[in-house]
Each structure stands twice: as C-alpha cells, then as structure tokens.
C-alpha cells in the first residue's frame, strides 16, 4: 500500500499503519535531490546534449552528509537538495562519488539546511524476509510504501560488479525514483538503487561506505577480477582431482589490472577465501544470511589495500596465497564500460576524429549490440576488460569531418587504428606524439586488417591547414 502524506503538516492519512512520531522521524531522515545533467554527445564528443534534470532521494547521514546513488550523478552540472518538502532548493556539493559502487555522498554548506534533519541508524543486519517500508519524497510530498524483502543476495548494482549485499524487494508501489530509504524497525536497512528490479544496497555496506568516505585518502572497495565457473559437474570435478567434499570454483581468467593477477592463475581452483569455504556454485556460508556469492567477502569488512588469504588447488596441490584487494574502475579497462563523470578525450587531425573506444560511444548507435559497428562491438564484447601492455586502450577513427585534407577518405568511419607514422598506438597519447613525428611530408595511418581500409596517407601541411578550417561547433 502507498500512502501520501501532507508534507507541510506531517499529518498522515492512515493512522492505523504507523504512529505520527515514527513517520516524522522518517521524514527527517530522507531528502529530495535534484541533479541537472548535461550528457556528452559521445559521437561528437566536443558537443554536449541538452541539459535535463533528474529527481531522486538521498538518505541523511551522520556528519551532515547525504548518501545518494552514484548512477544519478553521471554527468551533473548542478546538484540541489530540498528538505521536508519545503519550497526552496539548496545547492549541494559532491564530497565523494564512487561510480563502481554506485554510491555518492553529498554535502550542503548552508548550516540551516540541517536544522530538523536527523539521520536514522543503519541496521547492522537486514531482515531476509518480512514487510519493510520505502520512504522518500516525490514532488514535495513524503511517500511511504510497503514492500516485502524477497531475497538478500550479492548482486550487481548500477555500474558496479556483483560484490555488494543487496535487498531484492517486492512492492505494490507504482512510483519511486532512486535513493529512497528502505526502513524497518526505525532503522535504515537499505537504499533503493533501481526501481526497475526494486534492488537496494543493504545497510551493512552503506555503513561501511559511509565510514570509509571520511577516511583520507579514500581507499574504496576491491574487485577481485576473476572470471570463474562453478564445478557442479561431477565428471569435471573428477577430472580435476577434486574430492566430493571440496567445493571450489574454477578460475577461468584473472584480469591483468586486478590484485589477483600476481598470485592467481587460470585453472586454479579457489577452495577458500578469507577462511570461508566456497562451494561448487561459488557461495560461502554467511553467518547471518546463509549461502551468499563469494564476492561479498571482498567488501564485507574489507577495504582496498587489505590482503586476503585464499586456498587454491593448483596442479593438484593445495596452497595458500595472499591476494591483494585492489580497487579499480572502468578507466582501467581497455574499453571502459561506463564513462560516468569522465570528460571526453579525442584528437582531430585533418578532419579525422579519433577516440579511445568506450561504451558511451558505442551506445550512441541505435540497437548497438546488434546493429552497431561490427568490429567495434566485437572488440567491446571480447576485449573490454583486457588491457594488455601493447593495447591498454583501443584507438578508433570514429568519423571523418569533411575537409580538403581528407578528400578520398570521407566515407571511413569506426576503424580500429593500429599505428600512426610507424608508432603502434597504445592510447590517444601515443597518437598525439606520433602525429608530432610525421614520415616526411606524410602522416601514415594504419588500421587493423579486415576492416576494408588498411593504410591511408594524409599531407602534413594540409592537416595543419585543416586545423583552422575544421570547426568543432
């Protein structure tokens, strides 16, 4: 059920559900947040799209801070907050945003804003079932909706990876933004991060993040960086020499940017992490929540920079290794899967536009996963998480802006660049330095084979002249 309360009076419509004093406490623990966003036009990265506003909620925290979902702050130009359904919006600052966790913390300089706001405690443990409430502001009205906890699990949130404890809710609420508090027993048990699947990050992690945010420098939370598969198949277990009682998951890949890169290897079988046995489907026995995905062990009570003990079966031998927990984000991937908060980087030479390939660029193509530029979509799907020393990034000629310097090349687009002037490109910085060292009177650009064009030549003087002609409006 959903009940709308009159924000100005605090009186509620259904007295049978909840005491007025309790509702008033909830009203003081959640604020309305409005972000003005101006996304970048990644197809023409020197352009910005028309600004728009995004409404969401924030949870009042200790230390005059407001906890909000990071996905709401992808390309913000202004963030404002509104308390207790009052008319005015006050500017807020981002104290910290961690896009990989989809969490951010806001501050508001105006001291008067905090009068009458009062944080609720974060619950140390969350219920795995039962009725809870979603509390938040919508259009100046405070709304409370009943919800049921259907599952507590480790899941992917926003741009993050599956390592956060979350609540999966079922609710009859029809309207919500993001950032609503999930409350039970006078405590915050979660923050809604997605209204599509009614997922909320659970309070134990929210509390961890809030504590960590005060630390300088912020260490953040780790990803282990493994690709793994379960080992339920008894024939596979037998072939790997596993005992039936072992459990364990198979490491398929270790991402090079991860803390595990040094110590874990493909084909290792991960039997234990941080002293917890991992079963054949990748779960450990959590003392409160029962079987949970092993990756929760990376974030529960641990920070980036910590080390964790792993028991692995390698070449038939059991051994303990110490794995460094490392924080990394999309910017460390070869083809970043989100560009939240990032400024575009591009090179225009003789009307040829070059970018490092990223998800934001690909997503500008309608139905891009099927109908986007074929070789680039393949690169994204196969190489995105795989930076190598030769290819930390993938440089792409995205488009050719018409100019006399590029006559004959005007139809080229979306080609992966291999080298410029003999220099094999690792990233855009390499491209910039390569363009400073032409081959005689020419710039020579070579593309990955199989894309049609393989090698083109530009006149250095023409490219210089084009710099004043090509207008990036």
């Amino acid at each position: 059920m959903l009940l709308a309360l009159l924000a100005s009076t605090g009186a509620h419509a259904d007295a049978g559900t909840q005491g007025a004093a309790q509702v008033d406490r909830l009203r003081r623990a959640v604020v309305a947040v409005r972000a003005t966003e101006q996304p970048i036009n990644w197809r023409n990265p020197w352009k910005k799209e028309t600004p728009h506003t995004v409404d969401f909620n924030g949870i009042v925290c200790e230390g005059h801070t407001i906890l909000v979902p990071g996905t709401a702050l992808v390309a913000y130009t202004l963030i404002e907050v509104q308390r207790l359904g009052e008319q005015s919006w006050l500017p807020a600052r981002v104290k910290l945003v961690d896009y990989e966790l989809s969490l951010a913390l806001l501050e508001v300089d105006d001291a008067a804003f905090w009068n009458g706001l009062q944080p609720l405690p974060f619950a140390a443990a969350v219920p795995t079932q039962g009725t809870v409430q979603l509390a938040g502001w919508q259009s100046g009205k405070f709304e409370l909706a009943d919800a049921t906890v259907s599952k507590v699990e480790v899941a992917m949130v926003g741009f993050g990876h599956d390592r956060l404890l979350t609540l999966r809710l079922a609710t009859t609420a029809t309207a919500a933004f993001r950032g609503e508090a999930v409350v039970a027993g006078g405590q915050v048990i979660g923050m809604l991060t997605s209204k599509d699947d009614w997922t909320a990050i659970a309070s134990p992690f929210l509390a961890e993040f809030r504590r960590e945010a005060d630390r300088s420098p912020y260490r953040g939370f780790a990803r282990l960086g493994l690709r793994w598969q379960g080992l339920a198949n008894p024939a596979l277990r037998d072939s790997l020499g596993l005992r039936p009682e072992d459990g364990g998951i198979l490491v398929m890949r270790v991402l090079p940017q991860s803390g595990a890169a040094e110590v874990l290897k493909p084909r290792d079988i991960l039997l234990e992490l941080a002293g917890h046995r991992i079963d054949a489907s990748g779960r450990f026995e959590h003392p409160v929540y029962g079987p949970l995905r092993w990756s929760a062990l990376l974030t529960e009570g641990r920070r980036a920079g910590d080390s964790v003990d792993a028991l692995v079966l390698r070449d038939g031998k059991r051994q303990h290794v110490s794995v460094l927990l490392k924080r990394w984000g999309a910017q460390d991937d070869r083809i970043p899967d989100n560009m939240a908060g990032r400024k575009p980087d591009f090179v225009v030479a003789g009307g040829l536009v070059f970018q490092e390939l990223n998800w934001a660029y690909l997503s500008t193509f309608p139905n891009w996963r099927v109908a986007g530029p074929a070789r680039l979509v393949i690169a994204y799907n196969l190489d995105a998480e795989w930076p190598t020393p030769e290819h930390p990034k993938t440089v792409v000629l995205t488009v050719v802006l018409p100019d006399p310097a590029n006559l004959g090349y005007e139809e080229l687009h979306d080609l992966i660049v291999e080298s410029v002037n003999g220099v094999r490109l690792r990233n855009l910085a390499d491209l910039r330095s390569a363009l400073a060292k032409p081959v005689g009177p020419n710039h020579i650009i070579e593309f990955l084979p199989g894309q049609g064009a393989r090698r083109i030549v530009l006149d250095v003087a023409e490219v210089e002249a084009a710099a004043t002609r090509v207008q990036l409006d």
Binding site: R227, Q229, G230, L231, A232, N233, P234, A235, L236, D238, S239, L240, L250, M252, R253, P266, R369, A374, R375, V377, I378, Y380, N381, L382, N406, L407, G408, Y409, P441, N442, I444, L448, P449, G450, G452, A453, R454, R455, I456, V457, L458, D459, E462
Partner: protein, 486 residues
Amino acid sequence: MLSPLLALVLAAPAHAVVPDVTDSVVRIEVFQSRSDWTNPWRSDPGQTVSGTGFVIADGRILTNAHVVSDAHQVTVKRPDVAEPAVATIEAIGHDCDLAVLRIADKNFLKGVRPLKLGDGLPLLRSQVVTYGYPVGGMEASNTAGIVSRVEFQPYFHSGTDFHLAVQTDAALNPGNSGGPVIQDGKVVGVAFQILPTKQSIGYFIPIPVIRHFLADLKDGHYDGFPDLGVSTLKMVSRALRRERGVPADKSGVVVQDVARDGTADGMLESGDVLLSVDGVSIADDGRVSVGPNHVAFLYLFDQKQLGETVRVKVWRAGKELELTAKSRRIPYADQARISYDVKPRYLVYGGMLFMPLNLTLLGALEAKQMLAGSPEVRSDLLWNLFFRAREFPATSGQEVVVMVHLYRHPVNSQMAWSGPTAVRRVNGTDIHSLKQLADTLASNQGPFQTFEYEPTDGIEALDRVKADAAQKEILEQYGIPSDRHL
C-alpha cells in the same frame, strides 16, 4: 537490404508486347523444405513457392537459384498447356542466383520457341519488358520499365556475393523471380530482387553474368565465380598518390587487404596501385568503362572462369609491373555464404551437439534467439566468420566447431555450459574441424573427455565410459536418427 522476388506484379502495359515471348515463359512451382540448422537431422515442414522461368536453347529452362533452392519437387507449367511437368535441376549457381532446369518429357516443350540471349548490357534509359507469373494468379503478365543503373550489387541469395546487376523501375514484385527481361525481342536479363523499402527499384541479372554461368556449365559441372580476395581504396587523396609515387598520367586503386587463397594472393600486395586489368584502365575512383557504363573494376575479375588467367598492371615501389594469376575461388569463403541444398554436418556425443560454424548456422542461432543472452559468444562467432582470417591469415581455412546445444541426460546434466559456444580444445588438442573433433573423441581411451570453450575459457568434462554407454539412449530419447553427418 535486398530480397528475392517470388512473383511478378500484375500490370496493364500500354506498350507493344512481342507475342511469342509469353509462350516461352513458364510458371515454376516448387516444394521447398530447408534443413533445421539447430536440429540438423530434421527438415522444416516445407512450403510451396512459385516463380518464373523461361525456355532457352537446348531444351533448358533458366530461372533463379532461389526459386528452386532446397527443392524436393519442381514442376513447370506452360501457359498454353494444362498439365504441368516435373523438372530436374541440372545446375544451380547460388553465388549468382541462377539455375537451369530440364524436363524429362522431351515432348513437353515441343513447339516452344527458345528465347534468344542478347549480347550485352542494355543502354541506360532504354526500355525493357519483364515477364512472369504473379502470385495470386496463374496467368503470365508483363510490365515495362526503364533501365536506370548498371552497377556491381550484392546478390542477396548467398548473403555474400557481388556481381553486375541492372536496376530498373519496372514494377517488379515478389513472384517475378526468374522471369526474362526482354529488349528488342531478346533476353537482356533475369529478374531477381528488389529493394523492399524503396518504390520501384528492381534488379535483374544481366547477360554477362548469365553467360558466365552458362559457360561454366559447359563441362557439366558448376564451379562458380572466382574470388579476387582484396579490399581497395580509391586513389582520390593527393597525399596517397604522392606517397605511392604514382605518376600523374596513371590512375587506379590502392590495394589494402589481400585474402589467402584468392586470385590476388601471390599477385597483389597491400600497398600496390592496381592500374589495369586485361588492358582496361582503372580510374582513380575504381571504375572501369564497360561500353557506355562505368562499373566497379571488380567486374573485370568477375568475368573470368576458374583457372583463366588474369593479367594486371600494378605500380609497386616506383615501377610498373605486369603480373598474372589464375582465377581462383577461396574455399573457406563458402563458410560466409548461406548454404542451400546441403545436409548440415554435425556430431552428437554425450548429448552435446557439435556443428561447424558457418553463416547459415549463425543465422539459425540468431533467428531462434539462442545468442540473445550471450553477446560475447555472438561476437566470437562473428569474429571467427568475418574477421579472423584477415587478422590471422595463418588460420585461414580452419573450421570453427560450435557446441550448439546440450541434450540433457544424467551424464551431462550438471554441466555449466550448455551452448552455443565455440570449442577451442578437446582432450588438450586444438580443434580445427568437425572431423578432427570426432577423431579426437573416438581415439581417447582415458577416463574423461574434456572440452575447452572460447571465448569464455570455460571447461567441461564427460565421464568417457558413461558417455559412450549413454550414447544410444540419448539418440533414442531425443529422436536423433544418427549421431553424425560429417
């Protein structure tokens, strides 16, 4: 996007019709049934389609390949004879969308005047008349149009091939496929495809392609068109011309990629400027003159039969060279063509269905949404099919084997991977063909059959003895008549 025609639209022509032509135009009715590429021992229930054909010299009937593809029965009906006759397919060229039929009953075509093939391309803006049998009626009809363009075009039927085609505004519609296009009483083409999103853009296969097909058949066997196997860049850029050192009086295109085993392999190199083919100069935009038409230079290579010598001039390292090569077909290029008239190859072992990757399989997996949840696998298969040979030439011609589907049985039901996914290794051996995979499984005497997949790096294993023992039961349970068609 082009789509094959199956009927010619009804029209009410106000132009003079050569009276005899209609008598030589036959209605073709075909019972088509395609293999089910995700259950490769099965065929779909089939359907009856109709198209058009026409009588040419020597008692043969010319039509489109797509009219008679995957045919279980072909019948031909003359406009003036009540009884249809059963026809056999004498030859079919899927790469050029042409087929030749023959009627066993020698008397069936008695009195029919074979249509004469013209000699060349119709002039731009000249009038042509197409003949055919519209869907929804048994009578022949015809419609006039103007030749609007002569151009190298994709031939949709194979999904891959390009040949010369003539564009016309004659009102072609589904149903007209295989019908003759007539000018001055002679055949100038075979209607075959339209641009469905555009009004009045139809295409017909012109005489040079038809004659190539018929000449190919003279030895009784259809070999197909050669594959040049290059990509080129027009030489419009002055910087590119200067850097290649090409004198001002020469023109041509700059060779980019050269595929293994094509006509160009061993003759052309990346960076060569291709100046002429058989003495015909190539303009900087890649066009050559064919009569009054300007068409892509590829046309000159396309005119060759397999084994015929092609003679080119190239500008390489400051010198003009004259080079020759024998025209060839790239064997592995067939993987990227849509397959017709073939039984798919497969192997079932331990409930796992293995098939070689090709465009037809990929299309079937897409159509059944079997790749919708695994963009990574989809990309891997696309890369293997269209990019791998160019990026890693040494792997050209290697077959990629796909584990398509898992038929669940206690012997395999705990597997984490149920397909589709490409198979990288079996029992530690790199897999480069379905046959080799079958041999690798058969020769293993160890306790396990192990499988390594790409692109995930996932692995699986079967208990060999149990899997061998379960084979018969799995085949029976799932109605699989044979464990293999290699």
